[in-house]
């Protein structure tokens, strides 16, 4: 997963905004509990979120939406599930791993590592070295 710079900035910005909204909501509830309620009856002190000022509500909603966008758009990679498009992507190089070609799903059937003729490969390499001088 490679995070792009815009996503990183978006995540950082919206996290700060969310933390701020959280702090504001906390301050607001402190304020509510320390100031006597206008109706003077202790049971009437509302604790529910409906008393939260509009700006804090909006700030929370916007920051969470932005945070979600930032996280989800930050380069999560899925692979096609159909063999046709996955194998096609691997063979053509549309799907890469660390910028390198991924080994095909059935390459082993033609490379057959169990039957590796190491002497032949060694000789090929030695010949190549000779041609390089």
């Amino acid at each position: 997963m490679t995070r792009s710079l815009p996503s990183k900035l978006l995540i950082a910005f919206s996290s700060i905004l969310l933390a701020h909204a959280c702090y504001s909501a906390h301050e607001h509830s402190l304020l509510l509990s320390s100031t006597p309620s206008p109706h003077d009856s202790p049971s009437a002190t509302p604790i529910s979120g409906t008393t939260l000022p509009l700006d804090i509500t909006l700030e929370t909603l916007i920051s969470v939406s932005l945070l979600l966008v930032g996280i989800i758009s930050s380069g999560w990679e899925l692979k096609p599930i159909s063999l046709r498009s996955y194998a096609g992507g691997v063979e053509s190089g549309r799907i890469l791993l660390d910028g390198k070609k991924v080994a095909g799903l059935f390459d082993g059937l033609e490379e057959r590592p169990g039957f590796l003729d190491v002497r032949k490969q060694r000789k090929e390499f030695a010949d190549w070295v000779k041609t390089q001088g």
Binding site: G49, V64, L68, L78, I81, L83
Partner: protein
Amino acid sequence: MNAEERDLLLNPIVPENLVANSKTISDLHSLSSSLLGIAAGILGLESYSGFLFYLLGTLFVSTLIVTFVMGGKPEVYSRGGWKDVIAADVTGGVMGFVLTWTLFFGLVRV
């Protein structure tokens, strides 16, 4: 042999990719559900309104996943397409949502 089996034989799928994709998607879901829980806690939502918020939030998250992660083509990356993404979303994240919801509800309010 029914039509579905026949289709699987003609157009096989790669099981490893199916598993890897659903893991990535469920990771995304648990992360986003926790964030939704934080928001619900700060807003001080209670009982049904909280779950309604969760439902709307997951629909939003599913839309984001389909547009950003799947490039608008959910059927390429999951067998059920749209339905799968939303179903995994709604069922997979409830626990994380409730956890952070209650936690932040308690933290913010004294």
